[in-house]
Amino acid sequence: MSQQKSIVLYLHVHQPYRIRHYTIFDAGSKHDYFGADYDDRRSNEQIAHKVAAKSYIPTNQKLLELLHRHPEFKLSLSITGTVLEQLQQWAPGALKSFQELVQTGRVEIVGETYHHSLAFFYSQAEFEMQVQMHREKVQELFGVTPQVFRNTELSYNNDLAYWADRAGYKAILAEGWDPVLGWRSPNFVYRPTYTNNIRLLMKNYKLSDDIAFRFSNREWSEWPLTADKFTHWLSQSGDATNFNLFMDYETFGEHQWDDSGIFDFLEHMPAKWLENPEHTFMTVSEAADAYQPVDQVDVPHTTTWADTERDLSAWLGNPMQQQAIEALYELQTPIIKSGDFALIEDWRRLQTSDHFYYMCTKWFNDGDIHAYFSPYESPYEAYTNFMNAWHDLRLRAGAQ
């Protein structure tokens, strides 16, 4: 029997703790880095309310309907610790709707760092601690244990694959970036070089970005994208086993608004795809189990799913970003040793990659404000806020 072809839909859910307007007048006296007023655009509470209402609740409702309607429909989610905490505190209804999805048994939770950090590149111990924290949070809230790993911003290299293999994960996720794949297609399962058991699932960025980025773009020659058209493309790609559609969860309702028709697309796509009995859906670990790796993939340099460069330059590309993150990890020893949990947690929240992304100057410079997704007026303001918080953190840690 010929193998079934599957769509592997994976959505990433994340919200950082945004730093409020935190000045030198606050440093040394106030430690509420993340406590913006509710009507401030940096208010985490306000954003949690908004994104829950616009994206999480309606999308989960749609996904739950689809799960009830199609027994073959499945998907995977990664949900960071920082967003789970915020939903617990400010949008318990949205959290419950995620729990209902997982309870169907057909929604898999993917492991990652609790704080959506770049710790892997700066501190192995801290990285492992955050992965463990995330695992425990997922067990507590969803009653499941992640079997597949993804690192922040889909960052990936051979070392990470080696680590994940040793840690016992079934699979790891990465960008299906052409310079890495060469002539090969992302629509198969691979094995990372230097590993034995773990499988590598690589994002089909063309198909994923058709939904995540181009869906509402009227300049795009394929606009409007219908479920018919999209599943037709997939059916036409002859030699393939798995179509890895990886994207931010907030694509639904937040990046692509309701009036773009994104929810209609989501509603009809599974039925269209499943019209052919050889088609199905799989979660990430099912895909890793179902298909044999066709080749091994060697990724000595770090890739991510961001920008045309697909590297870490959006987070670590300029000296402000590098100095800020290095300064932060310099405080690791005194902060961990302090045993002060509030201090340690603040330090970890500052590790969230978004803070460094806000300091990115490459789009700001090109004048492409729309690509610049930030609650701050400029990357310089983001840096100043962050470093003021860092100065306070250093004082609290008693570091020199």
Binding site: T23, I24, F25, N318, P319, M320, Q322, Q323, A324, T361, F364, N365, G367, E377, S378, P379, Y380, Y383, T384, M387, N388
Partner: protein, 399 residues
């Protein structure tokens, strides 16, 4: 074209802007008759310059700036005392005479001093009038007071009569709408620009030897360059700098310029207890002016209202990033500047400290602003003006 000054006999940005605009316009084929209120030698070939006054330029230079001199010295050496409104009236008479012989299609007037003459020229010839606003009275005198009612009347009247108004920034356009109730649709924004090649390169050791020495000892320098006048918002900078010094004691503020607030600012620095950290240099030209930019780690322009503001661009050209008030036109042109509301002294201090503490921030800010700076050109501004000329010329012919 009616103007009040041209380099090298200019007191500020107006002369530079007129010169650069005309140069770019002439390169696109515009024939320009430029009328000045004084007689002087110019090394300018791209347009014809007319002297509307028998006033000798040396008197203008001696007075420092053309705007606040009552002493009026004729070419013959004869001295009269005429206030600025009187000078504007003499200019108007002279323009009446000059337009009898000159051929032109459009009247283009820069700022209020030339406006009476411009309106008169329109009245006599029926040619379309474009009034180009580099600053209005409330910019110069402060919004609360509004300035001299006679000046306001001239500005208001000429803008109502003009066929088109050009503002050097959206900031200025808003001020015109606010102060004079002119419909926004009548006002086009043509941003000033900057001729990066006009910047005199640095040479030799920095003129500020004391600051050079202090920097070797770990001090950081913040510079402010401009007239010490109400429009520039300098008391706020001093107030902010007290907070800077409290956190980064090795900070120095270099204040270059002269003006009516000189003593007031010295006194304020003393009251704030930061006299040792604030250095006043008085008015500077040449090397003393250029080196002030380059010695600084950060340039600050805290203006209460700045129609455009060239100094941050000069600063970027000399290697120093800028913190500018949001109430400035240049903030519309350069994105990679730190920006602050002129009244928000806490935020001003916050941003200054951040730069003084971080070379990474300073360098990244400068690197990115420099790439914006290097793209600046007067060509775009000239293109907009050229289209306006063509449009109004056709319209005038059709009437």
């Amino acid at each position: 074209m009616l103007g009040w000054e041209l380099p090298p006999h200019n007191s500020g940005g107006l002369g530079v802007a007129c010169y650069q605009l005309c140069k770019a316009l002439a390169s696109k084929g515009a024939e320009i008759n430029f009328v000045l209120p004084y007689t002087a030698e110019h090394n300018i070939e791209f347009m014809k310059i007319h002297a509307a006054h028998p006033q000798d330029v040396s008197a203008v230079l001696k007075a420092g700036i053309a705007y606040d001199s009552f002493k009026y010295v004729k070419n013959t050496g004869e001295v009269e005392y005429i206030d600025i409104l009187g000078q504007s009236a003499i200019y108007e008479k002279a323009v009446e005479r000059i337009i009898e012989d000159a051929e032109f299609n459009v009247i283009h007037a820069h700022d209020w001093l030339t406006c009476r003459a411009a309106v008169r020229a329109k009245q006599l010839t029926g040619k379309p009038l474009i009034v180009h606003i580099h600053s209005i009275e409330s910019d110069r005198a402060g919004i609360e007071h509004g300035g001299n009612p006679l000046v306001r009347e001239i500005e208001s009247m000429s803008m109502m009569i003009a066929d088109k108004i050009i503002a050097v920034s959206n900031h200025t356009k808003k001020s015109i709408v606010r102060e004079y109730g002119i419909p926004a649709s009548k006002i086009d924004v043509v941003h000033n620009s900057f001729d990066t090649e006009s910047l005199v390169p640095e040479s030799g050791a920095n003129a500020y030897k004391y600051l050079t020495k202090m920097k070797q000892d770990g001090y950081k320098v913040v510079a402010s360059i401009g007239r010490l006048t109400i429009q520039k918002g300098l008391p706020n900078l001093l107030t902010a700098f007290k907070e800077v010094v409290a956190r980064e004691p090795k900070s120095l503020l270099l204040m270059v310029g002269s003006g009516e607030q000189y003593y007031e600012l010295i006194n304020l620095a003393a009251q704030l207890g930061i006299s040792k950290n604030v250095i006043f240099t008085d008015f500077q030209r040449g090397k003393g002016y250029r080196d002030a930019y380059s010695i600084a780690d950060l340039f600050v322009m805290p203006s209460v209202s700045e129609p455009f503001g060239l100094t941050p661009l000069e600063s970027i050209g000399y290697g120093t990033p800028a913190l500018i008030s949001r109430q400035s036109g240049v903030a519309e042109v350069i994105k990679n500047c730190l920006k602050v509301d002129f009244w928000d002294t806490d935020e001003m201090a916050n941003q200054i400290v951040s730069v003084l503490r971080s070379d990474a921030l300073r360098d990244e800010l400068h690197r990115n602003s420099l790439s914006e700076y290097e793209r600046l050109t007067w060509d775009d501004s000239a293109d907009k003006l050229f289209n306006l000329y063509a449009h109004h010329r056709t319209e005038a012919l059709a009437v």
